[in-house]
Amino acid sequence: MNERVAIVGIGWVGFRPVTPDLSYKELTYAAAVRAYADAGVDPRRDIQSFVTVAEDFHEGTSIFDEYTPDQLGAVLKPMHTIAGDGLHGLATAYMLIRTGQFDLVALEGHSKASNLLTLPEVTAYAQDPVLNRPLRLNTHFVAGLEMNRYLHETGTTGEQSAAVVVKNKHNALHNPSAPYGADLTLEEVLESQPLSWPLSHQHEAQHADGAIVMVLASESTARQLTDRPIWILGAGWCNDSAALENREWAQAVYARQSARMAYRQAGFSNPHQMIDFAEVDDTYAYKELQALEALGFFRPGEAGNATEEGVTAFDGELPVNISGGSLGMGHLLDATGLSRALEVVLQLRGEAGPRQLEDIEIGLAQSWRGVPTASGAVVVMSNA
């Protein structure tokens, strides 16, 4: 019981702004085939349980879990869906293996955001139907309010937030899977079209299509399958208040609590000294700064300065979103956290190509479920 758990296979397809040539099932199938080949397993013979992360309204299908097994090789197998982010799914697979009842579990997340003609209206349907929806709040409007509160309480500036955009879009130029790479100047970001003050258009991650599959294994199985397992040291997740009216707006309490839970499992007392790099949520640029403070890497108000000084750049002390983050790779709906985890695995395996970081042992992935939630997860991984 409670063996260590490792990621032993990864596969992904994408990420592209539109994929008119592929259905979500084809995207998932292709990612699954790659992940199973990477792990050296046959899903029908070897994998004992399957997990998908998905939300009905993103799929345009009620009871979407009906459509999850076929393209994964999971027919007539124990399979279930988590209505959560990819990192919630990763935590679920981690728990399943830790029960001692499963040695191999596959996890899938996908995005076919380009199919959604009315995505802003869909995300607005996540608001409280009684108290908030009559106000006709736009999702970006709520994010603008939160950003304003964060800047106000921490003294962070719009320029510091814009520096996140410049960094992540630049990083994405070195990631062949990232469609939104760009060499922008701070001025170009600051002068981009307003979205909901103080948010501007360039601060928002555009959506992308793609699928990610991971295979997780218990320690003994992992050692048989691969000589480079990526160990999960800890996983944490948390919901702050679902109500917009009574939550902490400036601080990401859900990220702080998730991190504490993950660090406790990992046995970290000084997480910022242990963790070599991080992939954090940047659905909106300010969220990266807010997350870095909640995760304990910086004190409130200091993440912006650190970003300006290059601490979170590729050659900085704490590289953050070297993949390009969601700003560079595209926001993948429920698979977004899984794309953060994917980069952590690639970096820890030494397979990140031109953006490979040197001398790294421990990486962190963090996710947020988007407006209007205060919900997210953290996973800490190691290659040793």
């Binding site: 009905d56 009620s62 097994p69 209505a83 830790r98």
Partner: protein, 388 residues
Amino acid sequence: MTMRKVAVVGAGMTRFVRRAQETAKELSWHAVHRALVSCEMTMDDIESVCMGTAPDAFDGVHMKGEYLSDGAGAWRKPYMRSYVGGGTGVFVPIQGWYHVASGLFDTCLVVAEEKMSSYHPHAQAAFLTIFDHTTERPLKPNLLWIFALEMNRYMHTYGISKKDIAAVAVKNKRNAANHPSALLGDPDITVEDVLNSEVLAWPVNRLDVSPVTDGAVAIVLAAEHVAKRITDKPVWIEGVGWNLDTAYWTNRDLAYPSYVEYAARMAYDMAGIKEPRKEIHIVEPYDPFDYKELHHLEGLLLADRGQAPQLVADGVTLRTGNMPSCPSGGLLGVGNPIAAAGLMKIAELFWQLRGEAGARQVPGQPKRGLAQAWGDLMQVGTVVIMGR
């Protein structure tokens, strides 16, 4: 390898009603409050929360699990919503089980809620969007039609009559007359009443099927060392199983639910059960339709194929029979708020195995029970075995 033992230590539920005045969040909270009171715990003792609730379309709320989180008591706590369609009600305690069995948590609050009455004029319309958008939706099928197909296939394959099947509805609605939370208890209902109710989609008549219902149920799970401090009557989760078949239901043998058998075998293996017909004392199979109880008793290997109607006819499945089935009154009697109905079956086993089921108590001090749910496109089986 030894498994970490997980116990159910508390349970609570709201009344099941056609149209609740409470919001979905309030229903969840009422169930949670009753579950916590039942084991003298507070939210401070709860380390994690699992939520089960069926499609977002019922409430018309995107990411409905996030919306329901605070009502379920998940404020600043680890919280996740799992989902396997109609099977969710018996899956969410499995989700709670792996939260505790993983060693990450010592306690977990498991909540299932459904508010179907918000859907106007009828929740059945929410199911129009569950079908494949390319091959099936243009035919405009609904759930009653496809289950009528399955019922017809089951009757045809084994030569079963509508009268044999109606006996299940009668048994369950009579059982529910003793359930204080039931919507449809009726001590006087007869087979003729069922056969004479109007046809919805032949061979399904109105009293063959459970109705749209609002309600919520919650249970509290604890690891062994904590459970023993909370209660001297813990009910252990001895085995769990779940299984999902292909989405292409049109290619499936509708006469026999293989996915239920696979889920049951997984749970029997975990519980070390070799002869389920001898070792399971109470069974709560999923009964949204009366034929489904029979179908599921066969899938659970508790009856031979096509022989479950004989068990009902012989009185074996009565509360006083050798293998009481749906002593709660089931979905046909207590009501069918989708996910909450499944968790109601787990709560029923908890009360029955502790001898706390009052007028519904199965005689003979039963030691072990099984609850099962089913869902999606006639596709998923979820099974939990509990014992004291």
